[in-house]
Symmetry: C2
DNA sequence: GCAGCAAATGATATCGATATCAAGATATCG
DNA sequence: CGATATCTTGATATCGATATCATTTGCTGC
């Protein structure tokens, strides 16, 4: 067949193949292949000559061909859970923060990040990935199992307990809860409240650490269940406490927005923060530091979390053993 | 060669190929290929038989092989700019909001999203993509040109002006500015201030629409340049205005955090919002609505923006003409 | 001078899918 | 009944890279 390779688009140059380079250089294509991958099997001089030629001809490797031959894709699928409530943005912001670390680490190792939602995860490209990283609060056992059937290396972000048979990376939510408890106890608080949704595994851990550490001092917190992570929901929580005439002197909210709402509502009720009530949030979002009053909060290291997820993934791909791991968190004490 | 195909991992099942299915079904592999792609060329009965067989055997298509044969990857690279300041999170939150729409739209069309940073964009996998979507505030002409050399279809998110020879999708920042101007004029404000960094193309557009619309009423705003998008920076802007004894009765900040900081600083200075000064922010972040007082803001539709980027991309991949397009924004008037 | 070895290169098969062209089977028509 | 059209299936080549095994050349040592 003598027909010219047709470019993908009219403007684009027809792609050179290794065979073309080989002809130009007067060698065989396998030599080109070796030269371009810096193999010591080819003479250094030849190697450089071919590399220069490739550069000046604008040669681009055909990744599909290489992947086919090598039976791997050098790609990791990152599967993000959609929030149940679809009306707002598709993504939760926090799982996405992990993407930074993931992307950096994988890119450095020569891997690419294929981003999908749970819905899209059945797509062919995901099955072609060398591994999967699952992100997002709602990662439940059943979903995980479904993905596990794909038979790919898999790492999950989240709370430990639920997924015993998988590699899980997550912040030490339990430690976060304990740290806040210690902080409250240190301040002499005896009637703390926890605001959040313990149905969520990670938040359950926070609560659980909080409760355990308090129990060591004979203190038992009150749980106010709130499912939303909004400022309004935080205000509402405090208002409902007030309406029930509950007395409390400390409040631990499982998100900064909840905490901020709580602070606002407390102010409206004429209660001073932190004089009357100590408040601690979670996540230490950028706004927390410049909130008035500056909000105390538990900080998770998303960047490091993402890196760690990626490193576990790479280890599994290389058939090395990988253990679940928990990342320390920091209680940042500010004005509240 | 009679050696068994070795599975990627010990636990994983060896992958079936079309040839294996063909043998099982007693047909040729091309028939399997046709059956699985619902080709009308094969007898309906045969087709269903093969599809059932594939399902029950857990057959998975080898995407690399298909991509190689078809000379396309069904993948779109999304290239996110890193913030110059690397110390915090890698990503700006806002470009990421576009990912929702992009991902939904592309997934629905059978494409995957390959996420990279500018640094990682030279990786082989990006070159294998069928197209590129560039996101991020700092998308400058030189960077764009560099990517353009890859010869792939490309769509850029951002301000129009700068990139005449590319398909650009973005919010109508100019309209946003005009809308705020009209709002201020309607309230009888005559001494407005703009806070932001007009060195950024999108913000320049906001300022420019703002200035133009005000000029029609003989009003000329004061520009306070602030590069950061933080609450502290917004407070600082107002404080510096106060220190210079500038009188103003309206403030348009190019981000919600700046606007919130401004409101706080105004309160501290004893000036009432909105009685003494009207304030409008930009982006309408979730917090804006529950801010005290609820913040007026200009809302961009990120979801739709992402969808549109993706649709343009798909059109270009199909060799259809694609035009730059500008999305309307909405001024949400609340208490400020 | 020749066995033996290392260095450099190449011929061929292969990864798993699909396009092309050919061909057998069946149906339709005059 | 033979010719033509239609339906269904298959043999083969191909996409572009790399692994394997073979081959050539030059060199060392005895």
């Amino acid at each position: 067949m003598s027909r010219k390779r047709k470019p993908a688009r009219p403007g684009a140059p027809a792609n050179l193949t290794m065979a073309d380079l080989a002809k130009l250089a007067g060698v065989s294509k396998i030599t080109v292949s070796r030269a371009l991958s810096d193999s010591p099997l080819v003479n250094q001089e030849t190697r450089e000559r071919i590399q220069d030629l490739a550069r000046e001809q604008g040669y681009k490797l055909n990744v599909s061909a290489r992947n086919l031959r090598l039976r791997r894709s050098h790609t990791v699928a990152v599967i993000v859970e959609m929030k149940p409530s679809n009306d707002r943005t598709m993504f939760d912001p926090y799982p996405l923060m992990l993407l930074g670390g993931i992307s950096q680490e994988l890119t450095a190792a020569g891997y690419s990040v294929l981003l999908t939602t749970r819905q899209g995860a059945s797509a062919a490209a995901v099955q072609a990935a060398d591994g999967m990283i699952l992100l997002g609060q709602g990662v439940r056992q059943d979903a995980v199992r479904r993905f596990d059937k794909l038979g790919l290396p898999m790492v999950v972000w989240g709370a430990q307990g639920d997924h015993d048979d998988h590699v899980v990376v997550g912040s030490d939510n339990r430690q976060g809860g304990r740290a806040v408890a210690a902080h409250f106890i240190g301040l002499g608080r005896r009637n703390p409240v926890f605001v959040g949704n313990p149905g969520h595994p990670e938040i359950f851990e926070r609560l659980s650490g909080f409760v355990d550490a308090l129990a060591e001092h004979g203190v038992k917190p009150l749980l106010i269940r709130r499912d939303e992570f909004t400022l309004a929901s935080g205000m509402d929580a405090v208002q409902s406490l007030a309406a029930r005439h509950v007395s409390f002197d400390a409040l631990f909210a499982c998100s900064d927005l909840l905490a901020m709402g709580a602070v606002r509502a407390l102010e409206e009720l004429g209660r001073r923060v932190p004089r009357d009530v100590s408040v601690v949030g979670y996540d230490d979002m950028p706004l927390a530091a410049s909130f008035q009053p500056p909000l105390s909060s538990v900080r998770q290291d998303w960047q490091e979390g993402g890196s760690l997820l990626a490193r576990k993934m790479l280890a599994m791909i290389r058939d090395e053993a990988a253990q679940s791991e928990v990342l320390p968190v920091n209680l940042i004490v500010r004005a509240t």
